[in-house]
Every structure is written in structure tokens, then in C-alpha cells.
């Protein structure tokens, strides 16, 4: 009687991608396998060999090297190699030898191809060169929540109601009633024919403002304005908008942040509709939104600090609901901003109104909308140029002290590098900030820039946000034209390299060293963010968020869509693993950190992480030849 080897089948069953196969297929493979023993040090695949089987490591370990002898990878029990040669028919390019005594199973090429054709899971797993595996891994992570999956465009089922700015407020109210809408956009366009008013898509420049039903009540009726008051006198000018490819979740965050209930929806520069909070409230996962609302209602630092468990719970819940890292990052950053905003309001209540206009800055991850739990507080203040240190600095010093102490109380550690508004260096008038950025950009030194990259992720949180916006535009404009600055930044962005991958329960480092754990922030997300920042600054993007920066960079032609896509997937995947790890820490009442022990990673995660590290390593190499520090001006 012909039989399959039980030991072979049961071993395959424990490892991906075979663990996904049915018992019949496992029997078929176990019957077809051929086996060879290799003594440690002996060659398994030498350069130029034709590959006719998939290689599976039953026991022991192998080492794959580049032609020049540099270590490429180490693989252990249950891992496979040779699939690339099988798929492409190209003879062995990276030789393989046994690192330890190894028992290798050969799975015949024909059978491999049959599995590859028959099972999508199997094909996904072994596909090496393109990054679809990683991409699928990160999209399949976001499965659950509709609010996080539904894009704004899906909520738009009618064109935005618009009215010319010369119309009277009575005409506005009449049109609202007729169309049964709660808001109307006021447009500044040459009067066009009435019948085209819905068909023409006004672009951004023509949107003068927005009037909502509550504006009619609070601004017109409550103040007893005449019915022929022009719309332009009642509207909220230059309304905040949302792009139609954003998720509903992001739209809600924007609404909460700006305290509005209606957002004009744009497709690039064209108006495509309006989204109303009431429309989407039924989708709402209220958690993080309620936290923001609660924060803004608290009256002292103590009650704010009591919200910490809610914030943690919200983070854990988002991770469990498979939110994307972008969503988690925005939610946590919005919560962080709300803490800052509320603390500043409380400070202003205690100290009186500010003597000169100012803008409180978020720096680093909060500015990028990529904050997770328990990060350092990195902040600063831009003051109006009317600022006179002798007269005004005492006020802002006290304000900063209040806010930074408050932040420390609600879980944001003091910045170890003292990049905080309490430090007089980072509490300066706009002209000084501009001057500082000009110096960094115009006269770049790599060491100095190493500590100041955080300032290139900057966002206004409270006060005169335009001050921060001016800085952003200035940076975007100047940085893109300074090759030596970009070169220095690129050089710094290559400093923190990723590991090669994993081997057994170790992190495999370049040169073959093993480490017990990996800091996913320092070795993964942070260097990715660095790389993306260089490209974004080169393409004069004003975006701060890394995903948005990638889009801008691709649009500007500085990265191909496939390179950009790889970077996005790599960042998403590493970030999500990091988020899951922190969530796990919290659920087990441990302090969340970024250090991952490979032992807890599944084979699936390890492979994807390894791919993501590969993307990062390639992107760093690409920087090296794209931006040279000593070229040009």
C-alpha cells in the first residue's frame, strides 16, 4: 500500500503556506516530497544551478548569500526557498548553504505550480518580487468598521446646493427649504444661467463661504437682520473642506476639530457635494469622537488626566477593530491636540488674554497625525512679530509652563531633548523662526539637522494658526530648491537601517549578528518617515502626514506610483504591528513600548515585516543616489 509519511505531512501542516491547504493536498505533497540531508557548511544550491523543486527546511538552518558573499538572509525550520527560481526559470543567483545540519524537503516544481495556480493563499504567500503580499496583509487588516472603510465620496448622492453671493438671505432660506438641505454654499462666480447651477462644478476659488440653517437662526433671526441682507454678510467665509477620497472617519475628525457640522467635499479643486455630520452620525464609532468632546468640556488638569484610561481604551478598540494606522494616528493626534487646545484655553482663562497673537505648535508625530500612545511632547510657540520679550515673555513662559506640565499630567512625557515651548529657544516670533529655518536650509550641516528634523513636521494647534501655515509655506518653498539641504537630510535619513529579517527567534542583522528584539519605531517607522520627508520636501509638499506626503510626492513625479505604493504599504504594515504590540501591552497592563520580541510574531507577520524592511532598505539606497549633499548650491 502506498502511503504518505505522517511526519512529513504533520510538519508541513504547522507552517505557512501549507497550513492553509486541505488535508488531501497535504497528503499529496507528503507523498511527492524528496529529502536530502546536508551537513553544516555544505552547499545546498550553488550559483547557476537550475531549480526544479521548492525547498522546504524540515530541520536545521540555511544561509543565503549574495554573489559577493554578503549575507542576504537566514532561514530556519518551516521556511521555504527556491520559489523565485521556480517561478522565473532563472538559475540560482543567490547561493544557499547549510548553516546547521539541515534536512531539506524537495517539493516537485510541477506540484508547486499546481498549488500556485489552485490556491490564491498559497500564491500570495510565495510571491516574492512584487509587494502584493504586504499590500494584502495591510488591507486585510482593515476589515471591520464601516466608518473607517467608507469614503466620503460614497456619501455624496447629490451635487452641492449653491447660491450666488449676491442673493439675499431670504432667497438662501427659501432654497434651503425647497431643496430640503441644511446648508448652502455661497459662490463667487459671474452670474450664470439658473438651470446650470447644479451642473457646473464650482472650483475652490469660487467658493466664498457656507451658510447653514443654524447660521440663519443665530446670525440673522437672533440679531433681527433684515431679510434682504446679502448672503455674503451672513456666511462663514472660506469653509474648511474635505477631499472625497478621505474616509468618513477623517471627515468626522475634521468636523470635530473645527467645530463645524458641514464640510464641502472636493475632488481635487472641484466642489462635488457637502457632507453633514447628521448624515454620517449613524455610522459613527463614537469612541474617539466622544473623548475629544469630553476633553473640550473638562475644567481642570485633574479631570483631564482622569481621561487617560478612556484614551487607552479607545486606542485598543481601534486596533481591535482593524483600523488602519492612518486612522489610529489621526485619532490619537486629534485627541492629543484636543488636550493641548483645552490646556491652552484653561491657561488663557487663568492668565488672561495673550498680549500678542501667538500660535502653539505641534511638532513631530502629532503634527504628522501619526501619534500613538505615550509619546514625548514636542512643541513650540510662534509669536506675532510684535512680540517684545521684556513686555510679553513672562506671560508666554507661564502659559508654556502650564501647558507642558498639564500635558505631562495627561500622559505626554516631557521631551528629553527639551524641544518644548517652555524652552525660550522654541518660543520665538515668526521672523526668528523664519530666520532659523533659512539657516537650517541655506547652510545645512548634517549633525545640526539630525536634531532638527522634528521641526520639519509642524502644525499649528491653537491660536493664530496662520502663523504656522506661513512657516509651512516658507519651508516648502525654500527647501525644495536647496540641493545641499536635501542632500544632508537624505544622508541623515540613511542612518537608521532596518534589520535583514528574522531567523528563528532572533532579529537578523546585517553581517549575521542576532538580536533579541527590535525597536519597530527606531528601525522601522521612524526611518521610513525620514525617507518620506526628504521626498516630500523635495517636491515642495506642504503636507505633514507621511501618507499624504507620499501622494504629493507621487503626484509631483518624484517617486513612481509603485515605489510610493511600496513605501506606503511598508509604513502601514510596520505601524500596524507596532500598534498591535502597544495595544497588547495595554491589555496586559504593561507600559506600551516599541520593542518587539520576534518570538511573538507569526510567520506571516515576520515575512511581511521582512518585506517592509526590504522596501525601507531599498528606499534608503535610492536616496543615496537621488540626493547628494555636495551637489548644486
Amino acid at each position: 500500500m502506498e502511503v504518505e509519511q505522517v511526519e512529513i505531512r504533520e510538519h508541513l501542516r504547522r507552517f505557512l503556506p501549507f497550513s492553509r491547504l486541505t488535508g488531501d493536498w497535504l497528503d499529496t505533497i507528503a507523498r511527492a516530497v524528496e529529502i536530502t540531508y546536508f551537513r553544516a557548511g555544505s552547499s545546498i544550491l550553488s550559483l547557476g544551478t537550475e531549480i526544479s523543486d521548492l525547498h522546504y527546511i524540515r530541520s536545521g538552518a540555511v544561509e543565503i548569500t549574495r554573489r559577493d558573499g554578503e549575507l542576504y538572509n537566514r532561514l530556519g525550520e518551516g521556511e521555504i526557498f527556491g520559489q523565485l527560481g521556480l517561478m522565473t526559470g532563472i538559475p540560482v543567483r543567490f547561493p544557499v548553504r547549510a548553516l546547521e545540519d539541515a534536512l531539506i524537503y524537495y517539493i516537485p516544481g510541477d506540484l508547486f505550480r499546481k498549488l500556485f495556480d489552485e490556491f490564491e493563499d498559497f500564491a500570495d504567500f510565495v510571491e516574492v518580487e512584487d509587494r502584493t503580499r504586504m499590500r494584502q496583509a495591510s488591507t486585510s487588516l482593515s476589515g471591520a468598521n464601516e466608518l473607517m472603510l467608507t469614503r466620503v465620496s460614497q456619501m455624496i448622492n447629490r451635487p452641492a446646493p449653491v447660491i450666488n453671493k449676491s442673493a439675499t438671505i431670504q432667497a438662501v432660506a427659501a432654497q434651503m427649504a425647497e431643496e430640503e438641505v441644511s446648508s448652502i454654499l455661497v459662490i463667487d462666480a459671474p452670474p450664470s444661467k439658473v438651470e446650470t447651477r447644479h451642473k457646473a462644478r464650482p472650483d475652490r476659488r469660487t467658493i466664498a463661504g457656507i451658510i447653514t440653517d443654524s447660521d440663519v437662526i443665530s446670525r440673522v433671526v437672533a440679531n433681527g437682520l433684515p431679510l434682504d441682507t446679502p448672503a455674503i454678510d451672513v456666511m462663514t467665509p472660506e469653509p474648511i473642506t474635505v477631499q472625497d477620497d478621505q474616509f468618513l472617519f477623517n471627515a468626522l475628525l475634521i468636523m470635530l476639530r473645527a467645530n463645524v457640522h458641514h464640510l464641502p467635499v472636493m475632488r481635487r479643486n472641484q466642489l462635488v457635494g457637502v457632507i453633514d455630520m447628521a448624515d454620517i452620525v449613524s455610522h459613527e464609532t463614537r469612541n474617539s469622537l466622544f473623548i475629544v468632546r469630553n476633553i473640550l468640556q473638562k475644567d481642570d488638569v485633574d479631570s483631564l488626566s482622569r481621561m487617560l484610561p478612556d484614551v487607552e481604551a479607545c486606542f485598543v478598540r481601534m486596533v481591535n477593530e482593524d483600523a488602519s494606522s492612518h486612522m489610529i494616528g489621526s485619532a490619537m493626534s486629534t485627541i492629543g491636540r484636543s488636550f493641548k487646545q483645552r490646556l491652552l484655553e484653561l491657561a488663557e482663562e487663568a492668565l488672561g488674554p495673550p498680549p500678542v497673537p501667538y500660535c502653539f505648535l505641534a511638532l513631530g508625530s502629532m503634527a504628522r497625525d501619526e501619534q500613538f500612545l505615550y509619546t514625548d511632547q514636542d512643541n513650540g510657540i510662534v509669536l506675532d512679530d510684535a512680540f517684545d520679550p521684556d513686555l510679553h515673555d513672562e506671560y508666554f513662559a507661564s502659559l508654556s509652563r502650564f501647558v507642558c506640565d498639564g500635558l505631562a499630567n495627561v500622559g505626554y512625557r516631557y521631551c528629553s531633548g527639551d524641544i518644548m515651548a517652555t524652552n525660550p529657544r522654541w518660543r520665538k516670533p515668526l521672523k526668528d523662526w523664519k530666520e532659523r529655518f533659512r539657516r537650517w536650509i541655506g547652510n545645512p550641516r548634517p549633525e545640526a539637522l539630525l536634531h532638527s528634523s522634528i521641526f520639519f513636521d509642524l502644525d499649528g494647534v491653537h491660536g493664530q494658526v496662520r502663523l504656522a501655515d506661513q512657516l509651512k509655506s516658507e519651508i516648502a518653498e525654500v527647501a525644495s530648491s536647496s540641493q545641499s539641504f536635501l542632500g544632508c537630510l537624505a544622508q541623515n535619513a540613511q542612518k537608521r537601517t532596518p534589520p535583514l529579517g528574522f531567523f528563528k527567534n532572533f532579529v537578523l542583522e546585517r553581517g549575521g549578528r542576532h538580536a533579541n528584539s527590535i525597536n519597530l519605531k527606531r528601525r522601522g517607522t521612524a526611518p521610513l518617515v525620514d525617507v518620506i520627508r526628504v521626498h516630500a520636501l523635495a517636491s515642495a509638499s506642504e503636507s505633514q502626514n507621511s501618507f499624504n506626503r507620499l501622494e504629493d510626492t507621487i503626484a509631483a513625479g518624484f517617486l513612481t506610483p509603485s515605489m510610493g505604493g511600496d513605501l506606503r504599504d511598508a509604513l502601514e504594515f510596520i505601524s500596524i504591528i507596532r500598534a498591535r504590540h502597544q495595544s497588547f501591552n495595554i491589555e496586559n497592563r504593561r507600559k506600551p513600548d516599541n520593542n518587539i520580541d520576534p518570538e511573538i510574531l507569526s510567520a506571516f507577520d515576520r515575512r511581511n515585516l521582512k518585506d517592509a524592511f526590504g522596501v525601507l532598505a531599498n528606499a534608503q539606497k535610492f536616496l543615496k543616489f537621488r540626493y547628494r549633499p555636495n551637489r548644486g548650491t
Binding site: 500500500m1 502506498e2 502511503v3 504518505e4 509519511q5 505522517v6 511526519e7 512529513i8 510538519h11 507528503a30 507523498r31 511527492a32 516530497v33 524528496e34 529529502i35 536530502t36 540531508y37 546536508f38 551537513r39 555544505s42 524540515r58 530541520s59 536545521g60 546547521e100 545540519d101 534536512l103 524537495y106
Partner: protein, 244 residues
């Protein structure tokens, strides 16, 4: 290494026949057709380098150790060469013993009465078994079992025994670990190295398998021979230095 491989010879060297000649003699004298075919398939010459030899790893599970009292209950085999073990040729038979199975051995090989009730007598699978072994050199771990039990079982059924060369992986281990005499023997007597199948495999970092399952033990034996070659023998060692 302190062991010299080429001169290492088993103690009972004088008993080893010149197998190709012996097979030709037996082809002429064998009566049973399947046995005659087995001999007619011949055997590689003693000079053949091991890497060119077709092997078949064979394992029997028996009801005890004495071939006159006990019976074969399970046979597993897997064909292989030093290059590759071919699992697609793996075979497994349960055979009904002539005597009642001793309940005490069930925990060892996990084979129960009901498993064996529907199994054929060894005579029923003999043609197939000999077909799988023909032309190949049998590899076993502890030769006293397979060769003696098969010989005895055939004598009982056909009045005709069976002779064939085997490579015994246990004996190869013994050559490495038990050969020295005098001072070394004294030393090894105190630190006697186990040459049981699973202990031998561990020395070569081969994985742990569930023991006493005939096809698994056959596979384990094939892997062990590959490992012994990878560590101690040149692949062009003449087969006559190994078979017995």
C-alpha cells in the same frame, strides 16, 4: 578523526559473501518464482560507489525479538539514494501474525488486534514486498530483525529462506563509537554512547520522530544513512565496505 573510515570493517567480515556471485547461485537454486525474480534482479557489484547505489530503507515491527517465536505485524519501506529519499515510493503493510499478538507490545507499536484482523498474511504481500526490494540494497537499523524475521517467515511459508545484503546504520554507528579497544574500551564502557535509532539521529541533528511506526522508522533510517555519509564517509566509498 580518530576513526579511519576505509579500514573500518565489521568483526564478522569473514561471513560476508560476495553478494553478486551469491545472488547468481541463488537464482539458479531458488524454487519460488517471486524469490527467483528477486535474485535475478541481481545486486550491484561490491566496487560500486555508494552514491550510485539504489537503496531501500526497510523497517519491520514485530511482536517480539525472537524470530522463531514472534511475528512481523507491520512493514514499512522507502526507496532512496544518497542524493534523495523518494517518498513517492514509500510503502506500508500491516500483516496478520500467525500467533496471537502479545497485548504487552501494543503500547509500543500502536497496532491493535482489530487493525490486524483484516490484514493479509505476509504471504499475500510477499510478491509486492520483494518487488520493491529487488535490485536495491536494503538499509536497516539493527540487522538482526529484518533479515532474520523475513528469512524465518519465508521458511515457514515456502520452505525456502531469503538471503540479501544489508547496510546496518546501527552497525555503522557502532563502528564509530564502539570500535576502540583497550583504554578506549574502558573509557567507552563508562560513557557508552547509545546507538539506538533516535539517539543516533540526535547526534546528526535529525528531527525527533514518533518511533515504532514502520514507514517512519524506515524514513528515519534512510535519513540517518545520508547523515552518516555527510559526516563520515566519502560518497564514492565502495559499497562492499558497508554491506554485510
Amino acid at each position: 578523526m580518530i576513526f579511519s573510515k576505509s579500514t573500518a570493517a565489521p568483526g564478522n567480515l569473514v561471513d560476508i559473501p560476495e553478494w553478486p556471485i551469491r545472488f547468481r547461485e541463488l537464482t539458479d537454486t531458488a524454487i519460488t518464482p517471486s524469490i527467483r525474480e528477486f535474485y535475478a534482479a541481481g545486486v550491484v557489484s561490491g566496487d560500486t560507489p555508494a552514491r550510485q547505489v539504489p537503496f531501500v530503507a526497510v523497517d519491520f515491527e514485530t511482536t517480539g525479538l525472537n524470530c522463531r517465536e514472534h511475528s512481523i505485524v507491520s512493514i514499512g519501506l522507502v526507496p532512496f539514494s544518497l542524493d534523495r529519499i523518494q517518498c513517492h515510493g514509500c510503502r506500508h503493510w500491516l500483516v496478520r501474525p500467525r500467533r496471537e499478538i502479545d497485548p504487552g507490545t501494543i503500547p509500543i507499536h500502536h497496532i491493535t488486534h482489530s487493525d490486524l484482523e483484516s490484514a493479509p498474511d505476509l504471504g499475500g504481500i510477499l510478491d509486492e514486498l520483494l518487488g520493491c526490494m529487488a535490485g536495491r540494497i536494503a538499509v536497516v537499523h539493527f540487522r538482526s530483525i529484518e533479515r532474520r524475521f523475513l528469512d524465518q517467515a519465508l521458511k515457514v511459508r515456502l520452505n525456502e529462506g531469503l538471503e540479501f545484503p544489508v547496510v546496518d546504520t546501527m552497525e555503522l554507528e557502532a563502528r564509530l563509537h564502539r570500535r576502540p579497544t583497550g583504554f578506549f574500551a574502558w573509557l567507552f564502557a563508562r560513557h557508552r554512547v547509545s546507538i539506538r535509532l533516535s539517539d543516533s539521529r540526535m547526534r546528526y541533528n535529525l528531527p525527533l520522530y514518533r518511533p515504532h511506526h514502520a514507514p517512519t522508522d524506515a524514513l528515519a533510517t534512510a535519513e540517518l544513512l545520508q547523515a552518516q555519509f555527510a559526516h563520515w564517509y566519502k560518497p564514492d566509498t565502495p559499497i562492499r565496505e558497508l554491506w554485510i
